[in-house]
């Protein structure tokens, strides 16, 4: 009998051969075998994934235990137009494969990697099922151009721009179909993607058919509950303060005196709920004749904790991976399809709920509210709605905002080993990413917020096509000379992006309020090549070059060349290290490369002089005829690539028989000719700011990851993974000419005042640094309203007294993942620590006593309890910019805790089941006073509350 050394279970299908003969057999389903061999003969046992074993026949029974091969060492990572063994990789590449995905989590693809990879930060964008988290690899390298990494799904680089009617672009990939997620971080590994590689590359590979016949069914059911709420005043407290503050304002007093303090509505509570979700997946994989196949089907229904929000999604994936002509032609066909329905909530409703007047009930039987569906509505003295401060609950329940989207991503890859030329193959990859979506926003004429507009009946449509053709040759040949190995790839890539969309807004009687449509496209054409060369399996060299052309630029600026080079030295192969017993692997890597950036969000023609036609509501009459206006659009004819030059030095190591493995990388990135949206001198273009190449930007940092098998026993396994990233960014240059008096470009618009910004991009500082006044405090440490330090000492407080204070981006992030198994039990958790990220609390800053009856508009608003603490009375643009509101929002977040149990051999030998219980977003530890410390750009305003989710999961394998 042949058994697994660890589990002791029988191994079926193990090949057993009598050494030196052709006599052989295979083990049966229980691992048993019988073979004719004479005493003293040697039997050879081999099985995929296990270390081969030889044993001498001494009697009638020969039981052997096969040891599972140490996987980590031979694992393969996908690197773009090919793959490489991790031990031979020269760049900074990390992978998470499906076996490391935690079972039982209701998740999106992004969550599969959150906190698992060093230098990869995933910031959730609130807790909405339809929102999309932001992914940054090593902090990004651009200012105004996109900082999103390039995402490649089964060889198809997908468009990162949102699909109308879908909140989350990656939502259309079912996490259960993902086999592995590889992240390329440094330039030497990303440069093969040239112009799109500056922000790193995420390569998602989906599952393929396996041998045999397997069925997996997975079902997850969860309940999400709201966690924290903003502390606001009770009705009585509010009215007491208001009466005092507004004593001399007769208009305000009339409204205040009419308020009913016996009512004390918690508006946050009123719009939130416990939300149920169900996620069910079934997959069938196997091999039928020559055809390995995998088919999966998934259905998800997820409700959001904000009332009415949620999504429904059906996914399907098919993979066929046959080989022909004696394995010389490999075919890999992937087809993925998704249909989703998303119901969006009015973002403003969440914000309004924080500070809505507590003296009003959400719904009322008072006849004056009956024309508006019974929802409380602020009314004028004739019983008609005011055009402000709409009831948050009515904005959710009386507004129907739904998106419907089909998306399909697919590719056909033909991999042909050219006969008679050993080591040469040609690869053709044809891919597409297609989506068609539409949406509808509807509100009836009796909704208070749509009363004057006579209802809302808006429609939108979008169609997107992304077509891809890659063709490349790969030549891989070992040479005896220096025991070297040569691996050359050279090819061509063509990609076309096309998008068409339309909006048709009208009211219920059919009056068109606005109508627009738009079509746009862009092309990328590239030539690329890569050489991997190794000597004595010890010294590894990689060089790549890619030449990219982008239709977004004009003339000579269209083309850019992006080279890279890297070397690695497998120190563990040197005699001196071979003699260190604790050391199982050691590799030193160094790389350099230049990558590009051309992804200018929503603008495919930034360098082209053009005109656009206006719509029918913005006509102008001349002599009684209404003309649609034509407007010249701002452009920069000389716009070109942004370039990032980066350096990376890394060390991969394994000790104690690879029980502890890890890597550490140091990197430096320098981006020049930043694609930057900057203010320009008036009179030089058709806008007050344009997208142009100006400025330089650097980032440097350390990535560390460590995986340890803390316990590795037969019944008890415990592994821990720890990742750390230290990242520091600095703007080096922002103007074309040297101009020391230039303060910087203001960014980061805030609520509370029109056109006010809280952040600055300034030379010598991180991106989006807060640009604020220095608050003055009294002896008791209480901030003094409207008193700021006169930093430039000119005797007055004006814009010149603002200073740069902190950045929204954490310099240090860490992740800790633990996986513990004891017999059939498993216990996993994953947490993230973010240190030194600052958040501007806009919810607090825009709330002063003067906002209880804001702008005399006729309605009351609540204020947070924090406002009573400061006692700030009047909202001014200076007050909004006080550094008092910039808070240290460092946090530790326990992303999930899972407990599971595996039932083997139920009913029949083939059926096994895993039952899991998971708490997602289990707890957050932070000093931040707002609702959620995790705010990507550091301005906390209007965030969908993050729920805590309890998930019960069941996985069945047949």
């Amino acid at each position: 009998k042949v058994t697994d050394s660890k589990t002791g279970e029988g191994l079926p299908g193990v090949s057993v051969i009598v050494k030196g003969t052709t006599t052989g057999t295979a083990t049966d389903i229980n691992g048993a075998y019988s073979i004719n061999a004479s005493k003293g003969a040697t039997l050879e046992f081999s099985f995929v994934g296990y270390t081969p074993l030889s044993a001498t026949v001494e009697g009638a029974i020969l039981n052997v235990k096969l040891v599972e091969a140490t996987k980590t060492i031979d694992e393969v990572v996908v690197i773009g137009y090919g793959s490489v063994k991790i031990k031979d990789a020269t760049g900074s590449v990390q992978a998470v494969s499906s076996k490391n995905f935690t079972k039982g989590m209701a998740s999106s693809p992004q969550e599969l990697i959150a906190g698992k990879l060093s230098g990869v930060t995933v910031t959730s964008n609130g807790g909405s099922p339809t929102s999309s988290p932001t992914i940054r690899i090593r902090g990004g390298s651009s200012v105004s151009a996109s900082n999103d990494p390039l995402i490649v799904i089964d060889g198809v680089p997908v468009d990162n721009n949102a699909i109308s009617g879908v909140g989350n672009a990656l939502q259309s990939i079912n996490p259960n179909d993902i086999e592995s997620i590889n992240v390329l971080k440094d330039a030497s590994s990303t440069a093969i993607y040239g112009a799109r590689a500056s922000n790193g590359v995420i390569i998602i590979t989906t599952k393929k058919g396996k041998s045999g016949f397997n069925v997996t069914f997975e079902s997850k059911n969860s309940i999400a509950t709201p966690t924290e709420s903003l502390e606001v005043l009770s009705s009585k407290e509010l009215i007491d303060i208001a009466k005092n503050y507004y004593a001399s304002n007769s208009q305000a007093m009339a409204v205040i005196n009419a308020a009913d303090t016996k009512v004390n509505t918690d508006w946050q509570d009123a719009i939130l709920r416990n939300a149920f979700s169900s996620d069910n997946n079934i997959s069938v994989s196997g091999t039928k004749g020559f055809l390995p196949y995998r088919v999966s089907l998934g259905y998800t229904k997820q409700d959001g904790i904000v009332k009415t929000s949620g999504l429904e999604r059906t996914t399907m994936a098919v993979n066929l991976s046959p080989t022909f002509f004696d394995k010389s032609l490999s075919v890999n066909l992937n087809l993925k399809g998704t249909y989703s329905e998303n119901r969006f909530n009015q973002a403003g409703a969440i914000n309004e709920s924080l500070l809505y007047d507590p003296t009003k009930t959400p719904k009322s039987s008072d006849p004056k509210y009956q024309p508006y569906g019974g929802y409380f509505t602020w009314l004028d003295n004739a019983g008609k709605p005011l055009k402000f401060a709409y009831n948050p609950l009515s904005q959710l329940e009386q507004r129907y905002d739904k998106g419907y989207a089909y998306r399909s991503i697919g590719n056909l890859q033909l991999d042909y080993k050219i006969p008679y030329l050993e080591g040469l193959k040609a690869v053709l990859n044809l891919g597409y990413d297609y989506s068609k979506s539409n949406g509808k926003v509807y509100a009836s004429e009796n909704a208070g917020f749509a009363y004057y507009d006579k209802g809302i009946n808006n429609k939108y449509d979008q169609e997107k096509k992304n077509e891809l053709l890659d063709f490349y040759f790969n030549y891989n040949k070992p040479f005896d000379f220096l025991k070297s190995n040569l691996d050359i790839t050279a090819g061509y890539s063509w990609q076309h992006f096309w998008r068409s969309e339309s909006n048709d807004n009208s009211n219920i009687p059919g009056t068109i309020t606005s109508k627009s449509d738009n079509k746009t496209e862009n092309y990328l054409v590239s030539f690329f090549g890569r050489v991997n060369y190794s000597i004595f399996d010890k010294y590894l060299l990689t060089a790549t070059v890619r030449r990219d052309g982008s239709s977004r630029f004009q003339g000579d600026n269209q083309w850019g060349t992006f080279p890279s080079a890297a070397i690695a030295w497998k120190l563990d192969q040197e005699e001196i290290f071979k003699n260190i017993p604790v050391l199982s692997s050691l590799k030193l890597r160094a790389g350099w490369g230049i990558t590009g950036q051309q992804d200018i969000t929503n603008n495919d023609y930034p360098a082209l002089a053009r005109y656009t036609y206006g719509n029918n509501t913005h006509q102008y009459p001349l002599g009684g005829t209404y003309y649609n206006v034509i407007t010249p659009v701002a452009y920069d004819a000389n716009l070109k690539w942004e370039e990032t030059e980066s350096y990376n030095v890394g060390l991969d190591f394994g000790v104690f028989n690879s029980r502890i493995t890890g890597s550490v990388d140091l990197y430096y990135k320098y981006t020049s000719d930043l694609i930057n949206n900057i203010a320009i001198p008036a009179g030089t273009n058709f806008a007050e700011n344009i997208i142009t190449n100006v400025g330089n930007f650097e980032s440097r940092g350390i990535d560390l990851n460590l995986t340890g098998q803390v316990i590795n026993k037969k019944d008890l396994n415990w592994s821990l993974t720890y990742v750390l990233n230290y990242n520091k960014t600095k703007i080096k240059k922002l103007t074309l000419l040297e101009d020391p008096s230039f303060v910087g470009n203001e960014v980061g618009g805030i609520a509370g005042a029109q056109n006010n910004n809280i952040q600055l991009n300034a030379v010598g500082n991180p991106l989006n640094s807060f640009y604020v006044f220095k608050q003055v405090y009294d002896q008791n440490g209480k901030p003094i309203e409207s008193l700021y330090e006169d930093l430039n000492g000119d005797g007055k407080i004006d814009g010149k007294d603002r200073y740069i204070y902190k950045s929204p981006y954490a310099p240090v992030t860490m992740g800790l993942n633990s996986a513990l198994t004891y017999k059939n039990w498993m216990f996993n958790f994953s947490g993230r620590l973010s240190l030194g990220n600052y958040v501007y609390n806009n919810v607090a800053s825009k709330s002063t006593y003067s906002e209880i009856f804001p702008n005399n508009l006729g309605f009351l608003q609540n204020i947070p309890r924090s406002t009573v603490k400061t006692g700030f009375k009047t909202l001014t643009s200076n007050l909004l910019k006080s550094d008092y509101f910039v808070e240290n929002a460092s946090f530790f977040k326990m992303d999930y805790i899972t407990l599971g149990y595996t039932f083997n051999k139920i009913f029949s030998t083939k059926l096994s089941a895993v039952v899991t219980g998971t708490v997602q977003n289990a707890f957050v530890i932070t000093n931040y006073s707002g609702l959620n410390p995790e705010v990507f750009n550091g301005i906390d305003n209007q965030v969908y509350p993050t729920p805590r989710t309890y998930v019960l999961g069941l996985t069945l394998n047949f």
């Binding site: 092309y523 102008y620 034509i630 001198p681």
Partner: protein, 512 residues
């Protein structure tokens, strides 16, 4: 496949200049854009200036700067920068300064593009020689409008660059000009185009004619002493007189008709209007702003009287404005013989707290109601049909008198025109004035009564030396409840710090 990279926009609404101007209607659409710059904030898809689109519209920001800094009106909103407007003390960081400046320069840039694309060579080269005579007229109008926008820049900011069609897009940094250089440019342009513009009253409604150029010349010359310390009162007198004698514009019989939803019909007095339309010419910047912001949203009767449902509770007149009409309380309002006082009593005419909307006087000069009492066309009650009079004959009459009083001509000849205005205001001749009454103080007060809320007040106060001085105070001038003198530097607005930061050729105005 590398040819794929040479893309042209595939959207039929997204085209190159050559496509636009290959058809005759392109020239009208381009002209509509230029005129529309004064009413619209963008094209409905994208705003001309990013940020809050409504805020950046020409009339909204110009009106705010002209009226809120003056004795006419104060805004009760707490929005950033409004306190500085109410106090007449704008700083380089103020967002209204920013929007005003960029609106001026951006408008000029659009106008330059039109002039570049419509030269005789280009039009004929496109085989459109038959429309050249029309295009020539369009070009003269665009040059007038450019002179106007640079006049606004001169009046408010003084030392601004003058960018023309000779400056290509994306070319080097513009050079700052002195007030004298800007003045000379505006004067030269107006003197040239007055010959090319249509004869007075002969152009289509909404488009300018010779009378517009003369009116603007009169304004330019009347203020010359402020701008360049040169007296041009004779020139001001001459051009005001030209409008009066060489055109058939005449006073509207009913003062109020100038400000109603059908003032495109009752247009005899309006030399150049900024058009609005409730459904087709929508903007949160034109009269939409002035009317909604001056109305109490909680007061249904008030909203109905105006014909709009916005009710933004922002702007109302000051006690000083009421005082020009002799109004101090409810009784004196009801008995006021001057029909121009279209006021509404609020809780307290005194403005002890500028942030309380119901203090001061409600202003109901502009209405989205026609002369026959019908409500304007927008079913949602947001956008009015009412056009804003940019240049109006009554203003010319008063400039005529002022130029004479300031030594530019025969005062006697101007007295009847002042009395035409008075007769219309009072409905009788009992309030007529004589030559001796025509003092500068009287003229400033009369301009206040006739032209309040029409975006001329700040310019007038500066010209009369009253904008910053201690001898003429109004509520909240300088930030004091009863008003106080402010620094003389405020006679000229600061340049926005963004411009001084991004163009090293620009020097901040004195004192800032």
């Amino acid at each position: 496949c590398t040819k794929d990279l040479d893309v042209k926009p595939i959207d039929p609404d997204d085209v190159t200049a050559e496509v636009v101007y290959s058809k005759p209607e392109g020239y009208s659409q381009g002209l509509a854009k230029i005129y529309g710059l004064f009413s619209l904030t963008g094209d409905g898809i994208k705003g001309d200036i990013s940020g809050d689109e409504g805020f950046s519209g020409f009339l909204r920001v110009y009106w705010n700067i002209q009226e809120l800094t003056s004795d006419n009106a104060k805004c009760a909103w707490g929005d950033a920068g409004i306190d500085q407007l109410n106090f007449g003390q704008l700083s380089p960081e103020n967002q209204f300064v920013y929007y005003m400046y960029y609106r001026v320069m951006l408008s000029a840039t659009f106008m330059n593009e039109y002039l570049r694309q419509t030269t005789e060579d280009k039009v004929k080269g496109r085989g459109l020689g038959n429309i050249w005579p029309d295009v020539q007229k369009y070009r003269a109008e665009v040059r007038f409008l450019r002179a106007y926008i640079y006049w606004v820049g001169l009046d408010l900011f003084g030392n601004i660059p003058v960018v023309t069609e000779a400056d290509q897009i994306g070319a080097g940094l513009p050079i700052q000009k002195t007030q004298k250089e800007v003045f000379d440019f505006v004067e030269k342009e107006l003197l040239e185009v007055q010959n090319e513009l249509a004869a007075p009253n002969s152009n289509a409604y909404g488009r300018v004619d010779k009378a517009a150029a003369w009116t603007l010349l009169a304004k330019l010359y009347l203020n010359a002493e402020t701008y360049i310390k040169e007296k041009h009162y004779t020139d001001a007198y001459t051009y005001a007189k030209k409008v009066i004698t060489e055109s058939s514009y005449k006073l509207q019989n009913n003062y109020a008709y100038n400000f109603l939803a059908d003032n495109d019909v009752n247009k005899s007095e309006i030399i150049w209007p900024i058009a609005s339309d409730g459904t087709r010419t929508q903007s949160f910047a034109n009269l939409t702003f002035i009317m909604n912001s001056s109305t109490n949203g909680g007061d249904a009767a008030w909203k109905s009287a105006i014909g709009l449902q916005g009710g933004w509770n922002g702007n109302r007149g000051t006690a000083k404005l009421a005082e020009l009409f002799g109004i101090t309380d409810k009784a004196s309002l009801e008995s006021c013989p001057d029909k121009r006082a279209m006021f509404r009593m609020l809780d307290d005419i005194k403005m002890n707290d500028w942030k309380t909307f119901v203090q001061g006087v409600g202003i109901m000069k502009f209405k989205n109601i026609t002369s026959t009492g019908a409500v304007g066309s927008d079913p949602t009650g947001t956008f009015p049909d009412t056009d804003f009079p940019m240049l109006r004959l009554a203003d010319v009459y008063l400039m005529y008198a002022e130029a004479a009083v300031r030594g530019g001509g025969d005062v006697d000849a101007t007295v009847p025109f002042v009395n035409d205005i008075r007769k219309r205001a009072f409905g009788d001749e009992n309030h007529n004035v004589a030559k001796a009454d025509l003092t500068l103080d009287f003229i400033l007060a009369e301009r206040g009564r006739e032209l309040y809320y029409e975006a001329t007040r700040r310019t007038d106060l500066v010209r009369f030396g009253k904008f910053t001085s201690a001898d003429y105070l109004w509520p909240w001038k300088g930030g004091a409840k009863d008003g106080k003198a402010t620094d003389v530097k405020y006679n000229l607005l600061p340049l926005p710090y963004q411009e001084v930061g991004s163009n090293p050729n620009m020097k901040q105005n004195p004192g800032y």
